[in-house]
Symmetry: D2
Subunit: 379 residues, 4 copies
């Protein structure tokens, strides 16, 4: 880890952003970094005004990525930022990542990594060519008990996995179920901003990433039932997907933002030849293992039986709930370790590419009459 606080700048995350404050809290929770500048609006005035609410030096707050990069690159090394956090809508990720890497800054980027698969493919090369760290905030992989789940799978505690079920159900778009006025659409329904998918890009990719993180399984082919329940939505808001993994396991992934009344229910179930495993994001500090005879063992975050990887991802003893922000902060802490050159297990550009392949495959399958659509590969 670095022997000083790292310095970051934030692209996006201004007024009315949900995820901006999360990045700020997560990035600074452990006192390992501080945000010293950013681009919070394309309007420099508005950007600086917002920067004031964060007590930032107005000199380091800008109206464009170019300005930010130029200004920071010109600063002496002991003042210059180390990394850039990108949390704008998808369509501006690619450009911001490219510019940041070129200027020699490490990058922490929100998911999905880009608007298009081609952009993601290109970024893979750019990241590989650079010697900069690239982290992708698939934050659910930051929960201690998700990491324990991965550890247990890796240890063989489940035996051979044959089935995975992941559900990601939200209901926040359900009030639009009879909306026909496209003007009322949130930006997540705008293909120009988000790309080929709405819900599958926003939360479906989290589901895919979560199951891959925990199980290591790679999708071979899938069968998607994708649709818009909201009349004004040109993209998807509800989808159910059958999955076939390499090696023979099968699975189901459900992602929906019109699951009326649901908040942020992400449930993961993994079934193996020796045991089953269950985790739920809305009560994230527990992990249930069920053996072949049905006896359940419930492991708690902070408990003494956990692996070092899960223990290290918790901040408080058992019974003191860690939440969403702490999980997010684990991603950041790992990125900071990665920036310092330590080996870390945190989503990166390969996960970003996989997410875009997932979207591409799901959308293709959604339009296909064939049952199975092979996973879109690239490179």
């Amino acid at each position: 880890m670095s022997n000083r606080k790292l310095r970051g700048a934030m692209i996006g995350g201004g007024y009315n952003s949900f995820i901006g404050p999360v990045h700020r809290m997560a990035g600074t929770l452990d006192g390992l970094a501080e945000f010293v500048g950013g681009v919070f609006s394309a309007d420099p005035q508005r950007s600086r005004e917002f920067g004031k609410t964060l007590f930032l030096d107005p000199q380091r707050v800008h109206g464009s990525v170019e300005e930010l990069i130029r200004h920071e690159a010109a600063l002496p090394e002991d003042q210059r930022i180390d990394f850039v956090t990108i949390c704008t809508p998808n369509d501006s990720h690619y450009h911001a990542v490219c510019a940041s890497l070129e200027a020699g800054f490490h990058v922490i980027c929100d998911k999905p990594v880009t608007r298009t698969l081609a952009e993601a493919q290109d970024l893979v090369e750019r990241v590989e060519k650079s010697d900069r760290f690239f982290g992708l905030t698939h934050n659910y992989t930051g929960y201690p008990m998700v990491r324990e789940a991965k550890h247990l799978v890796g240890q063989g505690a489940l035996g051979t996995i044959h089935k995975v079920v992941v559900e990601y159900a939200q209901g926040w778009l359900a009030p639009l179920l009879s909306n026909t006025d496209t003007a009322a659409n949130p930006w997540r329904m705008d293909p120009a901003r988000v790309g080929a998918a709405c819900t599958m890009g926003d939360i479906g990719t989290h589901g895919e990433n979560l199951l891959r993180f925990v199980t290591g399984l790679e999708t071979e082919a899938l069968c998607a039932d994708l649709r818009a329940c909201i009349p004004s939505n040109p993209l998807d808001d509800d989808g159910s997907i059958l999955l076939r993994f390499k090696g023979g396991a099968h699975g189901v992934l459900i992602a929906s933002q019109v699951s009326t009344g649901e908040e942020n229910r992400i449930n993961l179930r993994v079934y193996g030849s020796k045991a089953g495993l269950f985790w739920s994001q809305e009560n994230p500090n527990y992990l249930e293992l069920r053996d072949l005879d049905g006896t359940a063992t419930v492991l708690s975050k902070g408990g003494p039986r956990l692996s070092p990887v899960a223990t290290g991802a918790g901040r408080l003893p058992a019974g003191h709930p860690d939440g969403f922000i702490e999980a997010f902060a684990n991603i950041y802490r790992d990125c900071f370790r990665g920036i310092a050159g330590e080996p870390v297990d945190v989503p990166g550009i390969a996960d970003g590419l996989a997410g875009m392949q997932f979207i591409e495959t799901v959308v293709a399958s959604g339009r296909s009459e064939q049952k199975w659509t092979p996973w879109v590969s690239s490179r």
Copy 2:
């Protein structure tokens, strides 16, 4: 309701039967009927021996359906049985139902109704032609809170339904995951006994029936990923199905008996334009309603706000758990009302036919390369 206890005979349900005792407890729980005879084994000696454990008159215990029917039909009306309960493996249902109806006995039959779709189609005509009552023990529809769910959907409390998710996960076959010896297979894996499907016939049909009972939705087409995870299994033990309903709603049905560690987890989620609804069989006395803003209302069995239909299906005040047997007994009580000529809302021969169509469609889809297989209709 009848002004005397009804008399029943039981075909099946002898030594080592799980469901036999359930039928006996459920059928007699309310003191409305008694079982006076039966066929508990093809070996008359063994059948009578078992009958003794039930304190039955050995004269009324037989080794074949024919014998039972002949003997009972010859008794004076005030001694003769009123109904026959059939809880043998699927392959003997058809014959037993035919014989019972022909002799003028009402029939209460376990699901799935027959081994083949053709048999079910034939039974539809036979039941219609007879004036006898035919009830099918899709017992999960007997739970008070399932009935409340149906009532709420019917009242429009959910608005227009656009998505349904039903999961039926068991793990009792998981210990066979590496079994290759067909001799160790339970009878539920024997096509000669069960027909075209193992898990989809045994529990998939419960899932389909449950969602149809609650929502009234009829499947238009489906896409099944069906497979045997157990090497020795010539049929299915795990399946995931995408559903398209008439009227535009979509759904997912997951049924598996290799969901390691699961006991009998049946979860139903219904999403509508106004609210979402959740029910779980393993804690069946509660029903959760979530409105558009996520606020949850939890209704309890026995609570004063329930509809008469749910109130009538409970036997105890709130907080005093009704269980599986009580739900099963609700099916029986309704059948007894049906026998007495009262109108009842209990699964019958139409549900039996739908179950067989479901199996047929699922199996066809499981083999198809096409995404959507239309629901197999008949007649």
Copy 3:
């Protein structure tokens, strides 16, 4: 077990009774007994009318205990009842038990066993002198997982117990919280019917019995805060009790019928030097064990790791919920075994006496300025 169905008569349990139907369902669930007569009202006409709804022979339905006993005693042995079930209000238990025992009938009696401690003391002698079986329906001890809890404590799985917490919270009297009209009082508030306590007699005794059944601990002294929150109530409706057990463990027992919104929440927590144990009546098919490091193991009714005593008390596999009636039926089944001369672990007259001592001690403590009131002993 008997080689024929036992015959019982029921005293109490007529129109508007909650517990009457429970006794009937529980007593007959396993097909081991039938109710053939009873006293359902002091008005013989009304009693017989009610008996008709149970399809009983009107000859065996009476308006008084004396009549019932006389009539049954006069019948030939192969028709005569074997046992009497008593489920009237407390004040008539004593008389009915005496008469039944004297006539040679076994007795199954609702709790609390009598209206006064003196009556209970007298019954102890009568039961001991008779050779008849006496069972007391402290039904919560019939739950399979309560029996497993007792088994685990007995096996030493918890080590030495130092603390017990039992809560029994109901809210059904809360709507009377501002009631001042004694005419509106339910009979449970009438000292002439119930004796010295309302809530402590009705449900406090269940709590005390449950903790004693599971832990074997005997109260040495207690400190009760007893009161009526309902203005019209001359007895108690809410109480909290500190307990000191022989051997050094301490505990807390909370019993209330004005716990607004509560249904029938009975929670038991037992803490020992090796593990803690948790059970909740409203979801009764699970038992949670927590070891010193906080890891929880959840055992399910019907699961393969249970002791024979818990396995034998379940009727269905894991995941198929047994409910209140099944637990009650376990008490009956054990009583039938006791009647047949088999050794059984089911609450009896000693528990009845303890319950009355508990009430006496609690009421005395409620009035005392001293902190600790020693357990009222007798004989």
Copy 4:
């Protein structure tokens, strides 16, 4: 709120501290303040060494409170600290608070506020005489749903409260249940460090504060069963308390650190004439309201129906769990508002005094033969 980041110094919270990192994360989560100095050990060398891990300027890290205060007081106003956070063991609180207030620094202090009641009484006067802000980190009052509970009680949603039950069960001391070696005692069992009580001071005061915060009820008299289950413990590790509140409500408070297997289970139940209310710290983002007929409404943190006070205390939308640190950070944020002169509802010196009175009363009651010990008042 201030127009710049506030500057704080931390007294305590060095190596091996559990609560130190919590204060640091909570105090900086919202970017409203930074810790710039502190006293992390009485050994100046060791203190500075620890300060380095926080990237602090070694000049501002000291080995004593005096040094810290002297140094900071000498700095120009635009560099000087604004507030001091005190998170040492109880015995050094008093001195540190006095010194900080005298030097004109605001104070944020861990609970219990002092080691003795007399110290607390003295602090009341000192805080009142100063114009500095004093906040006490009874952090459980920072949870959004606890604040919603208080709001609902204040709005009359529960009617008149008649009963409160609060349980605070931990098991982390249970491994010492047979320990007799006082050398192995943690500092929380040392009267010289903690004062008159161990568990009642550490967590009992949280329970008392929580119930008072939510209900506004003040204890009039109490009856405590207090004891050490651990042989080496000269203070208490387990206690159960009956409570009588001014105005007529009663309650129960259970606090234990030998509740084997428990993690940090704080449950609050409040019963009123209109509704009951339930909250559990281990799943803190939900609040259950049950009306007179038992129907439960579950409110979620972040949900749209909450009061502004609860909404303002959440950082993320519903379904995105806020945890312990976020609740703690709410206390800090409110303290920062208080420092800026805004009116806030956050525990202060009056709560500190009440906590010490609670300890005093509980310990006195624990030794008394009388049932009720009146609440120790002062001043």
